[in-house]
């Protein structure tokens, strides 16, 4: 169980290697507002408050993001609260840009690959016109 009332700094391995794991806790109500399904975007028009998140914890190692835990139910987190972070989002320096992107990702349910879908009585969403852009390997940001 993550205790997000206290800051937690855990030292892993030898201090000579300077491997420091930090928990960057963010606490606020987060209301998911979008769904991605079949590569289309849907706007959530109704969501039961049971799915409102209370915050999240970004675990970094040497200031690079390792994993993220969510405080609340989410289709893209496992039973332990571990958010499914794509590989492209790992080992990146935690900065404001990254934080904003992560916040936006968390507010988006990705239904093409998820642990569960909220029942239809608890979520309603409508499709919006969208353009899906598939970047090729060379176009991916290497940072």
């Amino acid at each position: 169980m993550i205790d997000y009332n206290d800051s937690t700094i855990i030292t892993l391995g030898s201090k000579k290697l300077d491997l420091v794991e930090e928990h960057n806790i963010y606490l606020d109500e987060i209301i998911p507002d979008k769904v991605i399904q079949n590569k289309n975007v849907y706007h959530i028009t109704f969501l039961d408050s049971v799915y409102f998140l209370k915050g999240f914890d970004i675990v970094t190692e040497n200031k690079r993001v390792k994993r993220v835990y969510l405080f609340g139910f989410h289709p893209n987190r496992d039973n332990n609260g571990l958010y499914c972070l794509p590989d492209t989002k790992k080992n990146i320096f935690l900065n404001e840009e990254y934080f904003n992107m992560l916040l936006s990702n968390i507010k988006t349910y990705y239904f093409d690959s998820c642990y569960f879908k909220p029942p239809k009585t608890l979520i309603k969403y409508t499709k919006v016109k969208s353009i899906y852009i598939q970047l090729n390997q060379g176009d991916k940001d290497e940072s």
Binding site: P86, T108, S113, L135, Q137
Partner: protein, 308 residues
């Protein structure tokens, strides 16, 4: 099977047929031939829009077709045996006139009342020629379905067999309507609004009209706000760590696209891709045009998070 196709006649059936053919992945080149101009009467039953009135049909059609295939326009009347056209895998005649056909035309598609006729005969000689509109009882949506069905026969291999055997097929559109509806529904269900694949040269655009054109129109009249991720209220954060000092208030990543800086579909894709590529760790993303509570439009670039 058919990589290059010529369509003669861009009327009600020919117009919709071109659109459906252009959406087929296999097609690389489309040659369209028509000397006619879009009139107001064409808007009600054919694919053309009111803003196309006064334009040549070939010009209006090429605007309606996504630019991922090569479209060659010929603004002249096709005269059998006299008009020389580049050799293509298939030549389709969709003219609403009845005239003699030699070996150049592979198939003639036309609608008579509620029947779609696929005529694959060659060297056809008619007793008298007829020029004028179709006698059709179909509305715009039904003609679109008939064209969709015709396009399916082209790429399913069915037409290849028919042309080989000089066959004529009459299809009652009422009888196949329910099948077509199901097929179209399934097709639309699986169809993305737009896919733009930047990998190599494989670019596939679908429903370009409904999606990219509004962005171009919006940019003609005003600047566009672009947000990477959701445009949302600023969240106040409670910092618990001592080591990393994140600002107390955060704003979503924001860019402004100045008015009149987007001139084509490619501009839209390239400009927005540039914005996304500056962000850390983004792979694929989705462009969504949204309106705020004051009815102002803005663009959100939503990352495909892609993990379970």
């Amino acid at each position: 099977m058919y990589r290059t196709i010529t369509v003669i006649g861009l009327g009600t059936l020919g117009g919709f047929l071109c659109k459906h053919l252009s959406e087929m992945e296999e097609l690389e080149e489309l040659i369209i031939i028509d000397d006619d101009i879009v009139e107001v009467k064409n808007v009600f039953k054919s694919i053309y829009r009111s803003q196309d009135v006064g334009e040549y049909k070939v010009d209006a059609m090429s605007n309606l077709i996504s630019n991922n295939i090569s479209v060659k326009k010929i603004k002249s009347k096709y005269i059998d045996g006299k008009t020389k056209i580049k050799s293509t895998d298939l030549v389709i005649d969709c003219r609403d006139i009845v005239c003699d056909r030699s070996n150049d035309i592979d198939v003639r598609f036309y609608i008579s009342e509620k029947i779609l006729i696929i005529d694959c005969r060659k060297n056809v000689r008619n007793v008298c020629s007829y020029e004028g509109g179709y006698r059709t009882q179909l509305n715009k949506s039904e003609i679109n379905k008939a064209a969709f069905f015709a396009a399916q026969t082209v790429f399913s291999g069915q037409l290849y067999e028919m042309t080989k055997n000089n066959m004529v097929q009459r299809i009652n559109l009422d009888l196949v309507s329910s099948v077509m509806d199901k097929s179209i529904r399934k097709n639309l269900k699986n169809k993305l609004d737009i896919i733009y694949d930047l990998a190599g040269d494989t670019q596939r655009l679908q429903c370009i009209e409904e999606n990219i054109k509004p962005i171009l129109r919006l940019n003609r009249s005003s600047d566009i706000d672009v947000f990477v991720g959701s445009k949302s209220k600023n969240y106040k954060t409670i910092e618990r760590t001592r080591k990393i000092n994140l600002p107390v208030e955060r704003k979503t990543n924001y860019t402004l696209i100045p008015r009149n800086s987007l001139n084509s579909s490619l501009d839209v894709i390239q400009r927005l891709t540039e914005i996304v590529k500056k962000q850390p760790g983004i792979s694929n993303f989705i462009i969504s045009v949204t309106k705020d509570e004051n009815n102002n439009s803005y663009i959100e670039l939503i990352e495909e998070t892609g993990a379970a």
